[in-house]
């Protein structure tokens, strides 16, 4: 069981794009060299902004809803797990339907694997590996009651995607409107830099 009082928070504003999370995720003994985290450069021309995607752990996971073989289970603590190997037919419905783009069906394995909040670690009171190593703590795993005191921006865990309303265990930190966003060095210089 992962403690119900612990929350996972993703704050892309802090992400430095270092991919320590990706590298550390791949070290896990349960998925051996395959990272479950996606780390995207948004548009390097425009910005250094990068964003990590780990599973949002939906309350009513769409991946599980669309699974034809009922291979995807959510445990009582709100963690959505990788597909159960004996049931998974590798059809990729989950991959195609997840609104956050999380599950990966690995060819060769023919099984969907995804972030399970490092169940082996979190069920024993540790943090998930990515949130442990993340240098900027853009990935944060803390008791839920601490988040408002720790951060100036707010967690968001209700999303409307098309007509679908999705509530998630993991929260995204809404960008802090008080912080400026510097994108173009030329605009910060006299005469546009020439």
């Amino acid at each position: 069981m992962v403690g119900d009082d612990f929350g996972f928070y993703i704050d892309p504003q802090r992400c430095i794009g270092c991919r320590a999370c990706v590298g550390a995720c791949a070290e896990c003994g349960t998925h051996k060299g395959r990272p479950m985290i996606h780390l995207d450069e948004i548009d390097r021309l425009v910005s250094t902004q990068t964003t990590p995607t780990v599973c949002m752990h939906c309350e009513d996971p769409i991946c599980a809803q669309v699974c034809p073989s009922d291979a995807i289970k959510r445990s009582e603590d709100g963690v959505v797990h990788s597909s159960q190997k004996p049931r998974c037919i590798g059809c990729q419905n989950c991959e195609l339907s997840c609104p956050f783009g999380v599950p990966i069906v690995f060819s060769g394995l023919e099984q969907m694997m995804k972030c399970d909040l490092c169940y082996d670690r979190t069920s024993e009171g540790h943090k998930p590996m990515c949130a442990t190593v993340c240098p900027s703590q853009a990935l944060l795993f803390v008791p839920k009651h601490q988040i408002s005191a720790m951060r100036q921006n707010q967690p968001l865990n209700e999303f409307t995607i098309g007509t679908l309303k999705v509530r998630t265990r993991t929260a995204l930190m809404v960008p802090d409107p008080g912080l400026p966003l510097h994108l173009d060095a030329a605009l910060l210089m006299v005469g546009g830099g020439f």
Partner: protein, 753 residues
């Protein structure tokens, strides 16, 4: 004659870089470790705590060390994958000797005999100082201390210097001028409580990633962040104030700030009057540094300069951090002094949440620069030309003053002297000057002139390819010792595994060479790293960098000890200057006037674009280690040219295009990375690669007159779009390696690129 004995492709087939992609036995093996070894990351000055998983004398992975106070389990990607430098196919396990046919593996004894014969021969013919030592500060404190003693009493040469000359020497000189001591003034804990954080010339997110979290924790409490950098780095993206100043204009900005602090009377006069000297002369030096003047030199708007001065001046608490951006300049020391002037004028030092530090770059950049590893220094950060300091060290070492050489040449000056034929032999450890020194082709010419060249290393670095003899040395995780982090915290490096084959820790090799040179009486008692440390403690006693009260046991009990720690009961000193007493002769902090002057090279009609160089988060220094780790190569396989779209458009350059970059030293062709996050008059190249891809083909051997640091951060270049066939074969090979890292398939299919 020291050209590589084989063709480069033959050398790389035999010695790499190849990629280590997976732990020993492959990912599927997934064995239970025998033990977890608490040690530190080798890949930067933050020295993050990490636990290495060990099974059957192999490092098989890592586990975060959450109890270690500095990083609390956090690691950057280099830390996460550092374990893959072990069990590496490129690892040197036997001594190599140059032959007509290339490098031949030889037994350790004949290799050492050859080294000693050549040293004696060269020194016999040309004098002791004709044989030089270049060392490095990825070495532990013990090895750094020993390298200094080995050169002075083993080889009896004055010409010893180290790769910290390319790293922290400007900061060290600036700190000694102002404070009489060369260390971060605070532990990083004081960052968290600061109201304003001023980061200048430091790409914190990529070069000191864990420090990012300290800064964000301060921002969570309301701190304002000011970043000065020609590039909008990942941390700068959301800074409260971003100042993308012109390369080389740093002390124009800080002088301008001091001018405004004085004009607006945001000066802590009580502190300045009671605890400092030199303020009047310093004010005189900035009296004409008006916002208009500052704006003209830096290219920054007047309003931004005034806002920065207001934010800094009105704060109650603050922390100023700088790094190589301001230090890698021909006025590196002045840039440092001008930052310190800003700190001293506001009196915000030596108290909680008020701090100042350089972010040390190399693994043991702090400890490695304190104990006689530099050409002008003796242990305890003593001065080799100071009679009292010499006397003390002669007593500790049991030698006479005549036996102890005087000040020698600095690193670049040693290379210059090799090129000029004045130095004939070189022993190099923990240093890859062919990649890391400026003006690559000059360095290559110099190495080819050596009569004898011996290298100690664990991989065959590009520099080692030029050696006559290569002695296999131990990795960080194959030996015990201590290092000192950027905070000034002395920590324990623990041995996890034995070195493979004939590889041995550098200290054992140096002790052996010294003994064979008949100098064993100074070295034979070094039978363990701890024995060396215990002599270092005594040798540092009474110096500013006083380690006497630090023992291995005390470090382990306290998760590190901050020096100075003068006696065994002393708890160490996380925050310096709390009593407002400084380490200068008059016990005051010294303002140092900094009159602005331009960089040694400025842009002109022929070379109209500024070039600046630096690191990426995925690589460490000259890349000898990180260019061999699959995951890191996958993320960042090769260098590139960062260029603003406005400049790119002028030259018809689009993303990925081949661009030839030319300076007065040389040229290279790189793919363009078109980004709006860099000044339009400036381009950037990361420096971790060798040969045709080396950023240092372009940089100049211009040195700061005091610190002798090269001006890596400011060069003038011209750029021209060219055709993809001009890309070097090395670039194609690195693209193939990135594909291999991503897919585990060694052959690159045509259609991928």
């Amino acid at each position: 004659m020291a050209m590589p004995p084989n063709r480069l492709d033959e050398l790389s087939r035999a010695f790499g870089p190849h990629l280590n992609l997976a732990p020993p036995g492959g990912w599927e093996a997934n064995p239970e470790p025998d033990k977890l070894v608490k040690t530190h990351c080798c890949f930067c000055g933050q020295q993050c705590g990490i636990q290495l998983k060990v099974k059957d004398n192999q490092v098989i992975g890592f586990e975060p060390w959450e109890d270690f106070p500095f990083n609390q389990g956090k690691l950057c990607p280099k830390g996460v994958k550092r374990y893959l430098q072990g069990n590496h196919p490129d690892r040197l396990k036997h001594a190599l000797m140059r032959t007509e046919q290339g490098f031949a593996e030889v037994e350790p004894e004949p290799a050492l005999d050859r080294v000693v014969d050549e040293i004696q021969s060269i020194q016999g013919r040309y004098g002791k100082d004709a044989f030089a030592v270049l060392s490095g500060v990825s070495l532990t404190n013990e090895k750094s201390y020993l390298a200094g003693k080995f050169a002075r009493l083993g080889l009896q040469t004055k010409n010893l210097d180290y790769n910290g000359r390319l790293c922290m020497v400007s900061a060290g000189a600036g700190n000694k001028k102002a404070f009489g001591i060369d260390r971060a003034a605070n532990s990083w804990a004081d960052i968290e409580g600061a109201e304003v954080i001023w980061v200048t010339g430091a790409n914190v997110a990529e070069c000191a990633p864990i420090t990012t979290d300290y800064i964000w924790r301060a921002r969570d409490r309301g701190a304002k962040l000011i970043v000065c950098d020609p590039r909008i780095t990942p941390l700068a993206r959301t800074a409260d104030l971003m100042l993308p100043l012109k390369p080389g204009s740093d002390c124009a900005l800080t002088n301008g700030i001091l001018h405004l602090l004085h004009k607006w009377d945001l000066i802590d006069w009580e502190f300045v009057n009671q605890h400092t000297s030199g303020f009047e002369e310093t004010l005189e030096a900035v009296k004409d540094c008006t916002p208009e003047w500052t704006s003209n030199l830096t290219g920054l708007p007047i309003a931004a300069i005034e806002q920065a001065a207001r934010m800094w001046g009105e704060a109650k608490t603050s922390f100023l951090l700088h790094a190589r951006g301001i230090e890698h300049q021909s006025k590196g020391v002045e840039n440092v002094s001008s930052c310190i002037n800003m700190v001293l004028a506001t009196g915000r030092i030596g108290k909680p949440n008020c701090g100042y530090a350089t972010i040390t770059g190399q693994g043991n950049g702090q400890g490695g620069r304190e104990h006689g590893h530099k050409c002008d220094q003796l242990p305890g950060n003593r001065d080799i030309e100071n009679p009292e300091h010499r006397k003390y060290i002669c007593e500790v070492w049991g030698c006479t003053d005549e036996e102890l050489p005087r000040k020698g040449l600095t690193a670049q000056e040693i290379m210059n002297a090799i090129h000029a034929g004045e130095i004939k032999g070189l022993l190099c450890l923990c240093f890859n000057p062919l990649v890391s020194l400026p003006d690559t082709e000059f360095t290559r010419e110099a190495l080819s002139k050596l009569e004898f060249f011996v290298v100690l290393d664990f991989f065959l670095s590009e520099t080692a390819q030029h050696a006559d003899v290569v002695l296999p040395a131990a990795l960080h995780e194959e030996d015990d010792g201590t290092s000192t982090s950027t905070e000034g915290r002395v920590i324990r490096i623990r041995k996890a595994v034995d070195p493979p084959g004939d590889a041995r820790p550098d200290w054992e090799i140096l002790v052996d060479i010294a003994s064979r040179l008949g100098r064993g009486k100074y070295f034979d008692h070094f039978t363990s790293p701890e024995a060396i440390f215990n002599e270092l403690r005594v040798a540092s006693k009474g110096g500013t960098a006083d380690y006497f009260g630090i023992t291995y046991a005390k470090i382990e009990q306290n998760m590190g000890v901050f020096w100075p720690c003068p006696d065994l009961d002393h708890p160490g000193t996380p925050r310096l200057f709390e009593d407002k007493v400084f380490f200068t002769p008059d016990k005051k902090a010294h303002f140092v006037p900094t009159v602005w002057r331009p960089p040694m090279e400025v842009v002109d009609a022929e070379y109209p674009v500024w070039l600046t160089t630096g690191r990426t988060v995925f690589h460490y220094l000259s890349g000898t280690q990180t260019r061999r780790i699959g995951f890191l190569v996958e993320q960042c396989p090769h260098p590139y040219l960062e260029i603003h779209p406005r400049l790119a458009e002028l030259h018809g350059i689009a993303e990925g295009d081949a661009v030839e970059i030319t300076s007065r030293r040389g040229a290279l062709v790189l793919p363009a990375k078109v980004v709006r996050t860099i000044r339009p008059d400036t381009v950037f190249i990361p420096y971790h690669w060798p040969g045709a891809l080396s950023a240092n083909r372009l940089t100049a051997r211009h040195l700061d007159p005091v610190s002798k640091i090269p001006e890596y951060k400011v060069s003038a270049v011209r750029i021209q779009k060219t055709t993809p066939d001009r890309f070097s074969p090395e670039l194609a090979e690195l693209q193939r390696m990135a594909f291999e890292a991503r897919t585990n398939q060694p052959v690159l299919p045509e259609q991928v690129y």
